[in-house]
Assembly symmetry: C2
Homo-oligomer: 376 residues x 2
């Protein structure tokens, strides 16, 4: 951003890239946004410790930082003893990263490459790839695609990925946010009645025929879209379950393009209202099989951990009463949105099952339900 002249970002080969840039990369070009991420202590502590506490994994190595932003991972890698660090950044943040590397005394080690990862040609293979590619619910933003391209083209056999592993978790919730959203929905629907009156009395028009569509739109917005939320641990009413477990050294684009998983979870709280599923991720820094980190590090975004990712909440509307010991069996399908592949759809199918006095086997206590959510 400059008032002297307008920055259009890189010159684009095609208009789809331009759209992608405009919609996705722009916010990462602002220092304000970078500062927000740099102030996320959970995030910073994990990456810093993963690198700085494992200098043996970086000393004399060639490192690639994919989506470097302000370049701190690259700088840490250089400070940990890397021989050479290539830091690829698509936005104009690259200019700031270059300055930071210099001012932190590693300008001769860190080479900032401005542009898309997919368009880079490195002069050599690398020993280590570091990247902070995780979006909400791990996969939103689809940035890991670029990391996979980098890995398959530039990581030498046996090289290490930072992070090395990633898991996507969900858990049944009794969320206080649900009640807030239902109240909001009711308020909107009440206000629509006033609106109908105003349109009829002052403008001589009936808009009754749009009431149902308006309700549907509000329902989708308030209760059928994933919500960013700091979930307190106490709102988890059952065991978490893992719906995706990646080894970033070996996983493929297919593994993350469509995620399908069955799940089982058990309600661990007394009689409660099941009104949502929560979702979050963990990543680990363990190095590669042939170059394990002596001091592995984990970054968790689980409930009660405050990172800028927080957690995602998927409401169950209407909610369902559950009891201690109930078992929820189900399946999820996580796919990308067609119009914007960086955004997601999540479908959850589930059945609440119970052992009753009359039956020693788990029986459904309510029909199977299918819910679908936008992750925007």
């Amino acid at each position: 951003m400059s008032l002297d002249g307008e920055e259009a970002g890189p010159v684009f080969q095609d208009k789809e890239k331009a759209l992608d840039f405009a919609n996705y990369f722009c916010s990462y070009g602002y220092l304000y946004h970078q500062k927000d991420m740099l102030q996320d202590r959970g995030r910073m502590d994990a990456y810093r410790n993963a690198i700085v506490r494992n200098p043996g994994c970086f000393e004399g190595k060639v490192v690639l930082d994919v989506g470097a932003g302000s370049g701190v991972l690259a700088i840490w890698a250089a400070k940990a003893g890397a021989k050479r660090v290539y830091a690829v950044e698509a936005t104009s943040m690259a200019v700031h990263a270059r300055r930071l590397a210099e001012q932190n005394g590693v300008g001769d080690v860190v080479e900032i490459l401005e542009g898309y990862m997919e368009q880079q040609t490195l002069p050599e293979k690398v020993d280590v790839i570091v990247s902070e590619w995780m979006g909400y619910f791990l996969l939103r933003e689809s940035m890991f695609d670029s990391v996979l391209v980098a890995r398959d083209r530039w990581l030498r056999p046996g090289g290490a990925m930072y992070p090395s592993h990633a898991q996507l978790f969900m858990a049944p919730l009794c969320s206080s946010l649900y009640h807030a959203r239902v109240a909001e929905l009711n308020e909107e629907l009440n206000h629509w009645q006033e609106f109908e009156l105003y349109m009829s009395e002052e403008n001589g028009l009936t808009v009754e025929g749009l009431r149902e569509s308006y309700s549907k739109e509000q329902l989708e917005y308030l209760l059928q879209s994933a919500q960013w939320c700091q979930i307190p641990e106490r709102e988890c009413i059952g065991d978490r379950f893992c719906i995706l477990d990646l080894d970033t050294h070996t996983c493929t684009k297919e593994d993350i393009t469509v995620v399908k998983s069955d799940f089982t979870t058990r309600i661990s709280h007394p009689a409660a209202l099941l009104n949502a599923f929560g979702g979050w991720f963990d990543v680990q820094f363990c190095g590669s099989e042939s170059d394990e980190t002596p001091n592995p590090v984990e970054l968790t975004t689980a409930p009660s951990n405050s990172t800028h990712w927080a957690q995602q909440v998927f409401f169950i509307h209407p909610p369902q009463e559950v009891e201690h010991g109930d078992v929820i069996k189900g399946s999820i399908v996580l796919t990308r949105q067609k119009v914007n592949h960086r955004l997601l759809w999540l479908e959850v199918k589930f059945t609440v099952m119970r052992i009753t006095l009359h039956n020693t086997e788990l029986q459904p206590v309510a029909p199977e339900r299918t819910l679908k959510y936008k992750i925007d």
Copy 2:
């Protein structure tokens, strides 16, 4: 928006259209957004009165509504006696407009055409074009381009445009918002100091070298971008001046693509701080030369009028002291942004001039200043 299947909008011929659709039209596809506009009484009263109080201008006529939204202008035109109304709408709002037209008893008169205006072929020329095309500072969104295409292709000679005229105004301000923004800027810069400390102590990195860039970014965001604001009339400290006056029957795309205008305004308040210019627009509904409305209507978005457009504020930073009777002479250039032609740049050059005891002619009391603003 639908949870059953994903709506991609119309099928696009090229990706630029897809970008335009994604960036611009989406919000207009939500009833929530339409409801907001329908609740803008200044806007609704003006259009309703322009149509309903001038039935002679609509009776038996063929009407075209460009960017019909929920279709209320089309419905009013039909109710005022139009023989036929074509209502063109690019978003899925077209479906709702069709239902509204039917339920308001004019489904046989109003024909909803879903798609871009530029791609429509009407079976006949029209007598009247109605459209609510005005964006912030009149020209933001560049929607009037589509109205011009419609006019040049489909309006019969002598046909009438609703609105028929539009003006863009500015005035010198002593804005209370300026002080709020300066306080915000100072807070951000103070916080940066804390951030430097945290980055150095906890992460072992110096980020001092980004301080200047961060200040510049915050300055641009907070003080060099147009701000949406409800300006109270009392904050206008001088006469308004007109920088654009359009007859929508005859103006051309060139008239709105680059707007250049000289201006002179006189400070009418006692000694005051000039810390901003305000900007707003008026439109009139007077019909065409050959088909004048008996009851002309004006829609004004001037300070102290509350419409959803409110006003735009362009800060003068640092501010300048002015006295009653001072004359400000200057010029403006309003252009479109390159990356997104729906957004604007405004450049203002001005000199504050005064008659002193020693000199009976206006003399500059400060050097000429040039300020540039993003209208995003």
